[in-house]
Symmetry: C2
């Protein structure tokens, strides 16, 4: 079989476009589990590897509505487990604002509940506004990543506390658990002391799949060491190749082969039956953008208040802040390459929050994804529909069949777990 | 309509009996969501007010298997939301080992997902073994309750951050959220500083239902101030009346009418078609008890290691420890009343972990529940089946119809939310 793409569906509130909810017929509530269930089933119909849900830990009622209102990821994904059969289910949880026992346990539980379809999108939480909801001060970037490294080590250790066959449940002898097959972790490190074991057995995948998206040096190092799937933030093919090579190049140092990690650039596909139809849709969406929320979103991405600058002047020379390294870097680079005004940049940000926008006919979109996939820029893509449902069904109904016809994407699931879909082995107990 | 009982189903691992899993045909895995789904549907068929799931935050592979292996409550209840339609869904979360932003958010999410059926069983976490999984020292009893009081205040404040009509989603104007209808909390207290608002809107019930089970003075005070449902731990009618009066008597001081809180004693019904059949079942279950796990469980309940004492000697005079006040008090009182040996006491503990065991024919069980209900001892009961499924279906199929025929229990749900079932008004936004 030829190498095949992996596709993830990125769920964030009302869609990735800041004003996608204004599109006629768009889903306007992201607290509506019925609508989300329909989206998940559409993704499964399209044979996606997984759905995954972004997260924030604060609300800003004046910014991107999708940032502000949402169901909590773990409860939402658990609810989707019963509404789907094969698709992977990824939830975001923060290594800065949670603790490893709770996180390890919840994802093991989601893995049991879904029959081996759980994934944890491990984030260090970029936005400092989160800290005020937890009575603390947002740690600086390096410290967040140090903590994340230890956090992941503890979580994996906890996932290995129980042997697969530790539950004996022998009615005759009365032995329920074989204590010899359960061990404490007794972790003591700079950030955490965790005794273990978990109060849940080893899960169907052994380790739920670990997703990451960090684009900084520290983020890439952590991903090379611990991630199974990496989402990259890029605006063109050269950047995608560079991000791909940067991640894959770090794997040997950790004794991992290149295919141990799938790199999926984020992309917002705006798809039409014709090129014209696609650009009309994008124009409609861009027409919904208001200065207020676009500027708030741009400020969020760049990590500083951009309201002070002239909208129709050039993008100012600013240094990336402590948060969202990858976004700030690729957005500022693109602005310089294309001599953008600040208004151009915020329009771009409004569309896909700094991710790549790929607008065109289904053939063009499929061609481009294939080109990137074959050019060493991607193992697949993280699909970020501008709005739901039509903004996503266009991709599933028009683009996926082309990829399938070209042998680039599965026609049906071959296995039952997310590891099966991703071609990842089930880890032995360490 | 005459006053009616409320019934909750208590889910803990393989059942409340320490060795219930050994019963022929019993469900032996409590990581099997399929079996749990069947239990939930049985409870809904029996028109129970709610299912709720106990929790611990540590594993002891040598003790009660139900204490040691389980799905994580919030993910499990979220998964059950889609498998059921009306029944309330309660999950335990600790005020000592979690934080209010996370808890408020997760239960609001479960309430949205379930269409208004979420309940939070707020516990302070009695067992000190939990602390070692969170890198901390278990706080003493008084401090746990101080923290719990502030925790609940913050959670309720967060649930009120968004007005019910704060989401405008006006496609024409582009206004998604009306910022005037969202407010921060800006809480600053001895334990927590939480800015808010939540990143999820006000949930269908306004406030998810709050359950509590604390039996100490501090526990009763907290419940009288903040709970909607209280589970009591009792061994006989006089204790049940006293616990009932103790809770209800505290309500006026907090400006709450007596029916603001339902008091549900925990009971393990062992039901047969005849008295003989019921006692045979109980004897079979008790025959499965081994010294090892019964002693571990008894030590857990009494908060001290009981292995040093003579099993066939009298129950020693010991003072209740810092944890499980209600259990230790009622168990030791019963042991003294009935001149039990330590072996008698551990057999009792093995059966229902210190809760009341009600063994008899369906008629006798129904008569006794009715008598308690009418004697000012209970507003209903927290049903703790010794094992699943037969240990629970016997109650649903044999006892519930008698209660229904007597007009003591609903034949069908009248409303859609858990507040509807409990007869609790939806709270206005404070």
């Amino acid at each position: 079989m030829t190498r095949q793409m992996h596709l993830g569906l990125f769920l964030l509130g009302t869609g990735s476009h800041v004003a996608g909810w204004r599109h006629p017929g768009a889903v306007a509530s992201f607290q509506d589990i019925g609508a989300i269930r329909e989206i998940a089933r559409t993704a499964e119909r399209g044979r996606f590897d997984m759905i995954f849900m972004g997260d924030n830990l604060y609300a800003d009622p004046k910014a991107h509505p999708s940032y502000t209102l949402r169901l909590e990821p773990l409860t939402m994904l658990a609810a989707l487990a019963g509404a789907t059969e094969r698709i992977g289910l990824g939830a975001t949880a923060s290594t800065t604002y949670s603790d490893p026992f709770t996180v390890a346990r919840a994802f093991a539980s989601l893995d049991h509940i879904s029959g081996g379809r759980a994934a944890w999108n491990a984030v260090t939480t970029a936005n400092p506004a989160s800290a005020a909801n937890f009575g603390t001060v947002h740690p600086e970037h390096a410290r967040r990543y140090e903590r994340a490294g230890e956090f992941l080590e503890v979580v994996r250790g906890l996932w290995d506390g129980w042997a697969d066959d530790a539950v004996v449940a022998d009615r005759e002898s009365g032995l329920y658990i074989d204590p010899a097959k359960v061990r404490a972790l007794d972790h003591a490190g700079p950030f955490f002391r965790v005794k273990g074991p978990l109060n849940i057995g080893r899960s169907p995948q052994g380790h739920p799949v670990v997703l990451q998206a960090g684009g900084s040096e520290a983020g890439l190092d952590l991903a090379a060491r611990t991630a199974d799937v990496v989402f990259s933030v890029v605006q063109d093919l050269d950047e995608a190749k560079a991000a791909y090579a940067a991640l894959k190049g770090r794997l040997p140092a950790h004794g991992r082969p290149p295919d141990a990690v799938s790199v999926l650039p984020g992309v917002m596909p705006v798809v039409g039956r014709t090129t014209r139809e696609a650009f009309d849709t994008l124009a409609v969406l861009q027409g919904f953008v208001s200065d207020d929320n676009a500027l708030a979103l741009l400020s969020d991405r760049l990590g500083r208040d951009m309201a002070a600058y002239d909208l129709d002047g050039p993008v100012p020379e600013i240094a990336p802040s402590d948060s969202y390294h990858a976004f700030a870097r690729v957005m500022l680079a693109k602005a310089r390459r294309e001599r953008m005004t600040l208004r151009d940049l915020y329009n771009l940000t409004a569309a896909a929050r700094g991710h790549w926008v790929l607008c065109g006919s289904a053939e063009t979109v499929a061609d481009t994804l294939q080109h990137w996939f074959e050019a060493g820029a991607a193992d697949g893509f993280n699909i970020m529909p501008p709005f739901f449902h039509a903004g996503f069904t266009a991709f599933v109904d028009l683009v996926v069949p082309i990829l399938q016809a070209r042998g680039l994407f599965r026609r049906d699931y071959a296995g039952t777990t997310l590891r099966d879909h991703l071609g990842l082995a089930r880890p032995a107990r360490a």
